[in-house]
Symmetry: C2
């Protein structure tokens, strides 16, 4: 590559569009001297946000359309060929960008990325993976909603992709992979999970067996593998619990004059505490299994959160994630053939 | 009934057996002047725990066997016919007890209860349901692990049972019922969930449509319906998140001398806060859909938590829960026939 690492940003995606994406882009440029960004979307809106804050490493690329948050993936794919979402993916396909980031509609993003970039050889379905805070560390979980009905083989592929992604991100060459299951003695999970467990046992991954929902938030496992329905419910449930707990924490300190004073005294401690699992710090999910790097930001991401999603893209470009997953898959298939 | 309400307690179940069940039983008797209890298990161990603390409303019934926590349900059913778990269920069957409570192996408890008591007419499979803390209220969720692979019809039956249970417990005649689903636009859940949604739309339940994982912890829904795999993962995930958050809260206040002083000042506020979603307060899950009342306590329950599980049994006896669910089912079937 002769040009610097270039990330294309969907400036029209998400709940806030350019008002979040533009300042986040400027923050990223300030932090990384060696990065270029392409802002894709409504040129007038983007330039309006930019104002005088131009940067030679920031290009603006006009797109005439926008994928709506509730638009069907099929419709987005068919009718929005000049949407900001489609153009950022096209830029990755053409090699003009090394990765793209969008806060738009997840279903449309996945469908478009899959159509334009294609999956890696050996991958039936891409998956969505994100980092999750845990006691004394982090966990990555996949799939988070791209694949509702999976086979055991799909779960196995998710495990390979997740393992390689975590190896790339953390530097640990053998992250611990667990299959999400339930512990009831009579059932021990459904047939699909059992079958996936057998595939993983005969793989060369660092497979540690079944894990349960509470293990996600401990240091027991690095990669949690499940289907998109269960993964999505688990992630959303976690958000719900965290919201409830912080709601009651705030409420406990604002019950009366005395508790409010105590709250003032405890404020710095509580602020640091909330920062530890601030969802904005964990914003940015990777669509793995594609021939290209696509990062999904939360639709409601603010500037700080969106910039974090861009950072994930930068790391994955630096480590050449798709190529590494591809290599790992080839090794796996050789290992399975000779097994 | 000529005798007072009688609850049979499996004194050998759970991690702690009589050392938890016996003091919990005495606490319940102190609180309820009109209740009788039967402690079932190893007579010597129970009497050793009781010591001088006898009560005329407390009978002891010897059982020669104990179902182990890792024992298969089939084995428990076949080989443990005089286990404390089996005897408490037999006492419900014979009418000598109105309900039973066990902290033993969930799979064995469900299999034994189903075999001895049978399901209510119209119910294919019993389910496990429990109360969950939420912002400004509570939610009930089912199934929590009894049924890994469910059909749409099973989910529909869970909805009927859950709705009636919540009506009984809260007094709200039309609790809001939601189907747990995921929000990705292209998929909107799997086929089974869609089909169950159609069944619920044509029912006379207060069905509010799909809910997502984060809705469980809000005031948006009263009864969350899902299959046992997803429900179990969701519940365990919640436990994991809560543990992680309380871990970091403790850690934040013990970082240095200053934060420890702040922690001392904030202690009463933090103690009350933690009490709000203390899992011990929520101990006790109902096995619904049986011709009898069976309550499952957490295996690691302490005295306070086990007593809470017994309280749930007392409420369900007072409201004659199985009969009410049976009636409701009959109405549903009539409604569906005439629809």
């Amino acid at each position: 590559m002769n040009r610097p690492v270039t990330i294309a940003l969907d400036a029209s995606g998400g709940d806030f569009g350019p008002s979040v994406v533009v300042p986040a882009a400027l923050d990223v440029l300030r932090k990384h001297a060696d990065i270029q960004l392409i802002l894709v979307g409504d040129e007038t809106a983007i330039c309006g946000e930019l104002g005088e804050r131009r940067d030679a490493r920031l290009q603006v690329r006009h797109a005439t359309q926008r994928v709506e948050m509730n638009e069907s993936p099929a419709q987005a794919l068919r009718k929005k060929k000049d949407s900001s979402m489609r153009v950022v993916i096209d830029l990755v396909k053409s090699g003009d960008a090394d990765a793209c980031v969008s806060a738009g509609n997840t279903g449309a993003l996945m469908a478009t990325a899959r159509y334009v970039l294609k999956t890696l050889p050996g991958i039936d379905r891409p998956a969505i993976v994100t980092r999750i805070p845990a006691i004394d560390g982090h966990t990555h979980m996949l799939d988070l909603g791209a694949n509702v009905d999976c086979t055991a083989e799909h779960l196995y592929q998710f495990a390979v992709m997740g393992s390689e992604l975590v190896a790339v991100v953390t530097g640990d060459p053998r992250p611990r992979v667990g299959l999400l299951n339930i512990g009831e003695e009579d059932i021990k999970g459904n047939e699909k999970v059992k079958e996936a467990g057998q595939l993983l046992e005969s793989s060369d991954l660092n497979y540690i067996g079944y894990v349960e929902g509470d293990d996600i938030y401990t240091d027991a496992v690095d990669v949690v593998v499940t289907d998109g329905f269960v993964g999505n419910v688990s992630l959303k449930t976690s958000e719900g619990v965290a919201k409830m707990i912080t709601h009651y924490l705030r409420e406990s300190f604002s019950r009366n004059a005395l508790t409010r004073i105590v709250g003032l005294i405890a404020k710095p401690v509580l602020r640091r505490f909330r920062g530890l699992f601030d969802p904005r710090r964990y914003n940015g999910a990777t669509l793995v299994g594609l021939q290209g790097i696509v990062i999904k930001s939360h639709g409601s991401a603010d500037v700080f959160a969106f910039a974090n999603a861009v950072e994930i893209g930068i790391v994955e470009v630096a480590k050449d994630l798709p190529k590494r997953i591809h290599k790992r898959l080839e090794q796996q298939f050789l290992a399975r053939k000779t097994a």
